[in-house]
Structures are given as C-alpha cells and as structure tokens.
Subunit: 155 residues, 2 copies
C-alpha cells in the first residue's frame, strides 16, 4: 500500500480507498530485455515499478527507436493507456534492469471506479493533470524542431 501511495494517480485517496486498490494488485518479477507490451497492443494492465528499471519507447521506423522515458523510481507507473478509451498502448515498454512490478488489471480498476465515483473522480483528475503536462512537454519538443527548421530556412 505504501508503494501505491507514492504514485501520482492515487494522490488524495482515503486509506479505505487505498485498501480497495491494494486488493486488485499483484506482484510479478521482470527480466532484463523482457518486453512488457508493444505500442498498438490492446491495453489491459498498468504497472508500478517496485524494483528495477523500465524503458518506455516508440518506434520511429524499422531502424530507429525513440526513447521516451526511463523509469526507475519505486511507484513510477506506466501502461496508463489502459485507463482510457480506446485502451491501446501508445508506447512500448522494455525492462532495462531486472526487478519486480505491481500489476493492476485495468478492468478491475474500472469496476472499482464505477462503484466508487469519488475514487474515479480523484484518479481521473490526477491522470488528466499528468496527461496535460505530458502534452505540454511534447509540444515544447515539437517547438524546438520548428525553431531549428525556421533557423535553417532563414539563415
């Protein structure tokens, strides 16, 4: 439960809500270079780092992978596309250093949120805030490319 409490998604939940969440998580070990999921696959689970390192990446083409994030802090979560329609992973995840994960079945979490709308509201508010932040960061990266392009066109 302490590990769950460090994840931004669950910030603001009550102790009894956290206990319900603990009830739907299980633990699994991961090996170096193991793929946890690939982008485009149906997203049924999300994960929290307990120990080890997981790399998130996206394929630019057959020869090039674009690294998005390297997660090693306990409580870091990924596979969160499983929380939201259309329930398709938008990135790939590969274990970079062996360890263990907490796994949450998204369908069970969905049922929990349907039953407890307060939990659902808090979780979805946290998730939206995180997504908005990621969107802003990604737009910033895009702007850097435009600036470079603009410079090369005007110099």
């Amino acid at each position: 439960m302490e590990l769950l409490a460090t994840c931004y998604l669950f910030e603001g939940l009550s102790e009894s809500q956290m206990q319900h969440l603990t009830g739907i998580t299980k633990e699994t070990s991961i090996q170096k270079d193991q793929w946890l999921f690939h982008e485009g696959q149906e997203a049924k689970q999300f994960f929290l780092i307990k120990k080890g390192t997981v790399e998130l990446l996206t394929k630019v083409n057959d020869e090039l992978e674009l690294p998005i994030a390297m997660l090693r802090d306990p409580g870091s979560c990924f596979g969160t596309s499983s929380l939201t329609a259309p329930y398709v992973y938008s990135l790939s995840a590969r274990c970079a250093e062996q360890g263990s994960l907490l796994v949450v079945e998204a369908m069970e979490l969905k049922e929990l949120m349907q039953e407890d709308r307060d939990l659902g509201y808090i979780l979805m508010t946290n998730w939206a805030a995180h997504l908005l932040n990621r969107l802003k960061e990604t737009r910033q990266e895009l702007k850097i490319h435009f600036r470079t392009l603009f410079k090369s066109m005007t110099s």
Copy 2:
C-alpha cells in the same frame, strides 16, 4: 443545453446533470482578431463555440506562430486547461471570424464536480481520453520530424 450536449466533455451526463451545467454557462459575443487568452495566463474559464471561428496557436518565437487548430463547429470547446492543475492556458486563442461563445467559469464547474462526483468522474474521464488522443497526435508529429532528420543524416 443542446449545444452543451454536442461537446465531448459532457458525453454520458444525465439530463439533470446537463441542467446543472446550463446553470453555470453564460453567452458572450466575439469580434474578429480579438484575443480570448494567451498561453501562460491563469486559466479561469473555458469556452464552447456557438457561432464563428476561433484559432488556437502557440508562439514558437517572436517571429513565428504555430497554428494548432481552427475551431468552427458549434460545441467545439477550448480553454480546457482551466479544468486541470496548474490551471494555466497552454495555448493562445484568437477569434478568426466573429460570432458568439458559451463561457463556463472553471471554479463553478469545479464546485459542481466536487458536489456531484458522478458528474466529475464522467467529465474527467472524457477529458483524459481527449488529452491522451492529443498526446498521441503530437507524438506522431514529432516522429515525422525525427524521420526527416534521420533521412537527412543517413542519405
């Protein structure tokens, strides 16, 4: 209320929830070239198009604006950064063709969501799905730039 019902944010709400929402909207007219807000400003309101056209854009540098979207369909909404912490507009909005908007005070909507967690859950779920979609689109744009860069490096 019919206009509100066409906005993706309010999909799935009951008729009485929609009536509560209608109670916190007001109408305002907009003139061509009028700025509705600038990126970086505190986000206190969000807007729905009733009539006219609004352009969303972001500044790349002093000389270059990057157009993000042109909204003209009734029910299209913008200024949605006002729904989520840190409550700062991430884009600028300028009227491209005169018309009228529905305005929602974000604080009043927040109070409504606090009181009615079911409404809050549904609205935040819709908002997160939209953000995830925008994030994927923005990542796709970024990939196109990387592909171009990669081609120029390897050719």
